[in-house]
Symmetry: D2
Subunit: 257 residues, 4 copies
């Protein structure tokens, strides 16, 4: 309704995932839902370089541009050009070990676990052909800066500004006292090898799960070749959003801005 | 002695800090001592772009190239060109609030505390003019990737690969449950403001302390314009050093390489 | 063989779990295997107050008395009375929400997750009828002091001396920045309520998993009425074992005793 | 004024610390101020077993019974017997190494640091004559359950219910990746030895600092022989206070009670 009044031609769907080529020729993609919905369309939008405008109807709405309340009024401002675009990096995971090679793309994170619930995985990680370490853990999170406020945060990882050119790796409940996140340059080539011949892995890109059969050949995680154009308020301030949505603070009391 | 035999002209000193212009015209600077000694000459060497060869006689020797044992034999290899140079970023802190403006340079970290022992500081941090948060803490560590294995690590911060183009900020014992390190792009301009009119701050660059008088004007931390050329073994592997020197591991057992 | 020579009457089994009443009338129970094997017999041994002597053939062997190497020689010492008994607390979980009420007993921990892999649970925890908090997490670990070096440790919990009269609760990757373990008196009555009507929970006592059907009625975790008599070296020192087996240290260097 | 109307005989002082024997023959001690003020009188009140009623005029007021707003109305309720008394454990530190032996008592914590600002201490800790570990750190916090929400929390320690019979030990920024808090039985006898002959220590009981001269003889921390009677609302719920005052939560969203 708002879009009609403003003279915007709209193509809409409530299918999820959206039909192939649905975004072709669009100037922007307005996603109504939560972060989960937005994550589902992110790789497609990035491939076509279609800017995403998120309208939050979900839980946290960390990636969304507008709250549901703001949407009608602020949509107009965005059409008037009052916005900025944040070019968010994505990561991809190439898995050649099954019969059909597979490439998964993620805006937040690639998570590796055992296919069976509550089973430990033993993963060996190499960065540019150098051994990083050997994790015996509930799983491993490889995260973009955008994903640093998602699963990475729950597992104890640092907060990363979306513009930082890095990839973060955080183990989930590793069997060690010396647990720390690792921050790599974003041109790193990570190779992850399953060291347990009995285990079948589950690899999830932004929460979408794929079981991985083979155990011998490592799979690879790198930066994706394209970035996602994400529409933001003209006055978007990242840590202000972190403070408000995640109750983050450097002291007990409230922060006066 | 080793140097003589190899036909190297040597200029040496045991003054610390070294006399001004001592490094002028040198091809390399061999530092015999621990990380502390090397940190003391790092800014000078970076300014003159003189590669540093560290020989460890100290505690951890994280930055040193050679152990004391290896030095006689491996020095020769280094002269024969068997080495690589790692260009390490430095940060600098500009303090204009006293009568005489001051610029401090650090290879590891800039640490801000109260001048009095065991007093909390209240610091407001801005990144590129946006408020990050307001820390009520024992102090604040702003660290390079190189410094991530120093004080940043003790305060719970992540391990950062030396090549990652970031600056890390980690509070020391903040009065909050929501304590996390923050990872910024390395072109960030951090401004830190003392919010307690009674407090005089102590700002330390790589552990060298300077008291700061004024309380009103914020001071600024940015990347330094030059990098330090650090000589390393040809087969240097960063996380291998982390595992060996810091006893780091992703599992309880020993790692088989 | 060692036992025969020493005049001990032996009843042995390699069934696991052991047959019912197998331990009846025994003076002690020698468990050959790792911590997992010992955990499997712990509740039975505790009910009959049969002291356990563990011989480690496993990974860490945190609970075992003797290493496989020491066993032949030191068995004799133990029979000669050179040992102490550590009375370890256990916890139990009473689940009345299914048709058949169930009581699970654990020496290490009770862990609650979603029955589906990689699904978040929403659990409300009450301690003696007072709300503690509402966790949105990968799961929840309720641990004895003995279990503090097991899953609790991987999830970031504290090290607890086995004699401390407490129960520890540590969430697994909670969706919050303010993640901390909680230490309760050991006479606390914890009630845990599943807040997601769609979810079926998996409750594991020392890693043995039971699916829980109902979602409405909370289940209860308390101290078990009996303790496990665990045979230890006469000079057993708990933190010495933690240092050696978990590579724990308060500084980087090795500790000289 | 409120007290007069209610027929209570009042003896008041604004001296701090209060004069000796000031509390003699009192039925209760009403402390108006913040947690710091209350900590200052806690040992005296505990020795005389005088219940403390705290009225909060400070920052967090974790220990206080009433907020400043509630005080006039709720004072009457307290006099009418609508309250409960929480008997809080205290710890004490005996220092024999100087010429004059000294005993410090703390309701929250005993903190050991170097007398010089920003200097690392090397402390060896024994529990009941067994080595725990050797800390190379900014300092060491030995905390009661009551103090678990104070400095212990800032240093990453767990939340401990006030009734748990334990003493917690948490290092401040130790030079190690394997940093964890330790939970001991409250009848533990901790001995702490300064391993650096050059260092003079600062020992603070609830923030009140005492320099310690000698370096050779260890000092001892144990439970104090008396407890502090602390007046609380009849419906006091500890974790509700933690949630409200420390913004603690097991999930991002607000908790609905």
């Amino acid at each position: 309704a708002t879009a009609d009044k403003l003279g915007v031609t709209v193509r809409s769907t409530d299918q999820f995932p959206v039909p192939q080529n649905f975004l072709a020729d669009c100037d922007a993609c307005c996603v109504i839902g939560g972060d989960g919905t937005l994550l589902g369309i992110a790789a497609d939008a990035a491939r076509g370089q279609i800017p995403i405008i998120g309208v939050n109807r979900g839980y946290l709405g960390f990636l969304t541009t507008l709250s549901a309340d703001e949407a009608p009024r602020q949509f107009q401002e965005i059409l008037a050009g009052k916005f900025q675009i944040s070019h968010r990096s994505l990561i991809q995971c190439r898995i050649d070990c099954d019969d059909t090679p597979l490439t998964l793309t993620a805006l937040n994170d690639i998570v590796i676990k055992d296919e069976r619930n509550s089973q430990l995985v033993r993963l060996e990680v190499y960065a540019d052909d150098q051994l990083v370490t050997d994790y015996f853990s509930d799983g491993l999170i490889v995260s973009t800066p955008t994903g640093s406020t998602a699963y990475n945060l729950s597992a104890g990882g640092p907060l990363i500004h979306p513009d930082a050119a890095v990839i973060a790796m955080t183990p989930i409940c590793p069997h060690t006292l010396s647990n720390r996140s690792i921050i790599f340059r974003d041109d790193v080539r990570l190779r992850i090898r399953n060291r347990d011949p009995q285990a079948r892995l589950l690899v999830a890109a932004d929460g979408r799960q794929n079981p991985i059969l083979c155990e011998s050949k490592p799979f690879e995680i790198t930066l994706a070749p394209m970035r996602l154009p994400l529409v933001q308020h003209a006055d978007y301030a990242h840590f202000s959003v972190v403070r408000k949505k995640l109750n983050w603070s450097g002291s007990h009391g409230p922060i006066t801005e």
